[in-house]
């Protein structure tokens, strides 16, 4: 089950904890993977770890030109992009009263606008192939909101609305578009939290622990698989029960 042999996958944010694990799992299922991110060193290290069927494509997602070119480079490297995982994301937290336009815009640009551009660029090949999987990594806060994250939460909620709309547009062509919405996952992003913050968060998680990148990657693998062909426009929440939605 969940065999991606012969498929190609482009994963953004593959230098981060969740993105790297997604790439590992898709690769482990047999896919050829393109690893995209801003930091070359961890990408090269991951590619070396994976061995064959792994390509490194550095890309700054806040640069519109680079984003437009990324799918093209992935197709040149792998022959196609059958699976697109928009995982890259940034935070610029702060209360709205004190949030600058720049903090708002940079988060929306990378998390939402780059996702839009990558989806659009990848669609053409998927439409022709009559098969495609887009998995956008949203967040629980896109549904619940979170004080201090108006920009991040808005961008993640935006991904959900965009994914559902696109899912409706392309469903008849064998393409699915879904979101995975992680709760609190052990990554560099959540390592910045203080012990007190951590304790307060875990108090609201029935599972009583943070999730792991592997638990997100497993959800992505399912949605990328041929078996999930009838699942589209869905948001798969992986959050230990912190929001049952």
């Amino acid at each position: 089950m969940f065999d991606l042999t012969g498929k190609t996958a482009l994963v953004t944010g593959a230098s981060g904890g969740i993105g790297a694990e997604i790439a590992r799992v898709l690769h482990g299922a047999g896919a050829r993977v393109a690893l995209s991110g801003t930091r070359l060193e961890p990408l090269e290290a991951l590619a070396a770890e994976l061995g064959e069927r792994a390509h490194v494509l550095a890309c700054n997602l806040s640069d519109a030109g680079e984003v437009e070119g990324l799918v093209k480079r992935a197709v040149e490297a792998m022959g196609s992009v059958d699976v697109l995982v928009n995982n890259a994301g940034i935070t610029r937290d702060g209360l709205m009263m004190r949030m600058s336009d720049d903090d708002w815009q940079s988060v929306v640009d990378v998390n939402l606008t780059a996702t839009f551009r990558l989806c659009r660029a990848a669609l053409r090949g998927m439409m022709k192939a009559r098969w495609g999987r887009i998995v956008n990594i949203s967040s629980v806060v896109g549904t619940t909101g979170n004080a201090g994250q108006v920009n991040y939460a808005a961008s993640k909620a935006g991904m959900v609305g965009m994914s559902k709309s696109l899912a409706a547009e392309v469903a008849s062509r064998g393409l699915t578009v879904n979101c995975v919405a992680p709760g609190f996952i052990e990554t560099a992003m959540t390592e910045k939290l203080t012990e007190a913050q951590r304790g307060a968060i875990l108090g609201g998680v029935p599972a009583g622990r943070m999730g792991t990148p592997a638990e997100i990657a497993a959800a992505v693998l399912y949605l990328a698989s041929p078996e999930a062909g009838y699942v589209t426009g869905a948001v798969l929440h992986v959050n230990g029960g912190m929001a049952m939605i």
Binding site: M127, E169, V170, S172
Partner: protein, 77 residues
């Protein structure tokens, strides 16, 4: 029939899976050839690729029939 018309017809036949003789001058992609809105977008993109031209959205909207497509592409190519 011109070379352009032949190439356009080939794309339409392949993409929409219709009989060649159904693709007449006045055949409407949507009403006569069974295309949906996504098909029309894909056809326009296929024409752009085949002929190396750009078909802006407002022009694409005017391309309703096989004859419209051939006429537009003949003028643009």
């Amino acid at each position: 029939m011109s070379d352009i018309a032949d190439r356009v017809k080939k794309i339409v036949v392949e993409h929409l899976g219709v009989e060649e003789d159904k693709v007449t001058e006045t055949a409407s992609f949507i009403d006569d050839l069974g295309a949906d809105s996504l098909d029309t977008v894909e056809l326009v993109m296929a024409f752009e690729e085949e002929f190396g031209i750009e078909i802006p959205d407002d022009a694409a909207e005017t391309i309703q029939t096989f004859g419209d497509a051939v006429k537009f592409i003949t003028e643009a190519a």
